[in-house]
């Protein structure tokens, strides 16, 4: 398939990712952090190596502050449910994924409230919207780094600075930016960075990351065996054990490690430049096709990531995606992309959109072919 569904998960993966997973299953398939035999220790070392590399990628001081989760949703749930108590208030942006919205909706039953700060192309207006949404009982600000539907970026550095002034913890959903956009926890005043392991970090599905950059940590959501301090009936408070109960996804983390190393070797800034160039080209081609409707400005390295949403007038977005798959062998995602808030913001909630996302492996030939197919459909 000619794959443009990289916003859901990246494909293909670097060969080193697949090799590492295969090797781990064949040679190091012991449970890490439990036993003292050579295979278990080797497995533990693999996981630790991934913590070190992930910390390096995001400028985290301590590898132990890198927590592995099953996906970005799990990382976000850990922060949201672990930080907020009855009577607390949270602020989110108008572009958030359901991974942020649904836990907060669920927690309304527990006496938590939240406000939505509207995204604006005018950065000052966006910042002002966040400022005005903050209340005396605001205990967490959660914000996506870039929309998974329209690609627009939020000014997380300035939102982080605002949170610092108000002494409110700041959580960033970097599912669409990690690996493609340089991220520094300290520069952006980010207390919690949540991301998927299987998108811009090129790891396998079933991996996610939470990086903690604050001393005030959330309550753990899951308690259980950690292979440590077993005599204690209480969940350990030390990181990463506090959030990693049960057997970890060793093959997944081994693969994620190779994905992170791939990204570090290519450099997120360079990956971004290449992806944006292709996305700009695709945008220009689509923009030139009568009947194609685009919803965000042309991708720009400073203001967006390589995500393009569009529709063809007179066609259901699902029909476009199905035709692309069946007749052109192209993979895209259509619908609401688990982000109804974003679609409401851009007034596409009544019809959804077709979404095309570029990756480090997308080629110009694929972009040209994609545009040709849309031209034939429109």
């Amino acid at each position: 398939m000619i794959y443009f569904d990289n916003g859901a998960t990246t494909f293909p993966k670097p060969p080193s990712v697949i090799r590492a997973m295969n090797q781990t299953m064949r040679l190091y398939g012991a449970n890490p952090g439990r036993s003292g035999h050579k295979m278990s220790i080797k497995a533990s070392e693999l996981i630790y190596d991934c913590r070190v590399n992930t910390a390096k990628l995001f400028g985290a001081e301590k590898p132990e502050n890198v927590i592995f989760t099953q996906n970005c949703t799990a990382a976000l749930n850990t922060v949201i449910k672990g930080m907020l108590k009855s009577g607390d208030h949270a602020v989110i942006s108008s572009l958030e994924h359901n991974a942020v919205v649904r836990p907060l909706e669920f927690m309304k039953k527990q006496g938590i409230s939240f406000s939505v700060a509207d995204f604006s192309y005018d950065e000052e207006e966006t910042i002002n919207n966040f400022r005005e949404a903050i209340r005396s009982n605001t205990r967490l600000v959660i914000c996506t780094h870039a929309s998974n539907v329209f690609g627009v970026k939020l000014p997380v550095e300035r939102i982080g600075a605002l949170c610092r002034i108000y002494e409110i913890p700041f959580c960033v959903d970097a599912a669409q930016t990690a690996g493609a956009v340089p991220i520094s926890l300290s520069d952006s005043c980010i207390d919690f960075l949540c991301t998927a392991g299987h998108k811009g970090l090129y790891g396998p599905m079933g991996t996610g990351v939470l990086v903690i950059n604050t001393e005030k940590t959330p309550e753990s959501m899951i308690q259980g065996g950690t292979g440590s301090l077993s005599l204690s009936r209480e969940q350990p408070d030390i990181l990463p054990d506090k959030y990693e109960s049960g057997t970890p996804n060793l093959p997944g983390i081994a693969g994620l490690n190779e994905g992170v190393k791939f990204v570090i070797s290519k450099n997120p800034g360079r990956i971004m430049k290449s992806e944006i160039r292709l996305a700009q080209n695709l945008y220009e081609k689509l923009n030139g096709i009568p009947g194609v409707e685009l919803y965000a400005p042309k991708p720009d390295e400073a203001k967006s990531v390589a995500v393009i949403s569009f529709n063809i007038n007179g066609m259901d977005c699902e029909e476009v995606a199905r035709t692309l798959s069946e007749r052109c062998n192209i993979a895209v995602r259509s619908g609401l992309h688990c982000a109804p808030l974003a679609h409401e913001s851009f007034k596409t909630d009544d019809k959804g959109t077709v979404r095309a996302v570029v990756s480090a492996f997308t080629t110009q030939a694929q972009v040209n072919y994609f545009a040709e197919c849309i031209k034939r459909l429109a």
Binding site: P32, S44, E64, G227, S228, D241
Partner: protein, 74 residues
Amino acid sequence: MDNLIIFGSMTPALKARDILKSAGIQSKLVRTPSKPGKKNCGFSLSVSSDLDRAVSLLQEKRIPFSGTSAADFS
């Protein structure tokens, strides 16, 4: 007889091993031996020499460990 630096879990033990290695102190990761009447689960670094320097270094780097002990792994 080896000296053990005792950790609560694997991650600080591995971090400590890297720090000690950078300082030229060799160590080996082992399961913490049981003590009579007291069993807990954890990992230790077995250090054959330079224990004092190793402990100092880990304290300086603020690596949490629960103590030191002597053990015979021969």
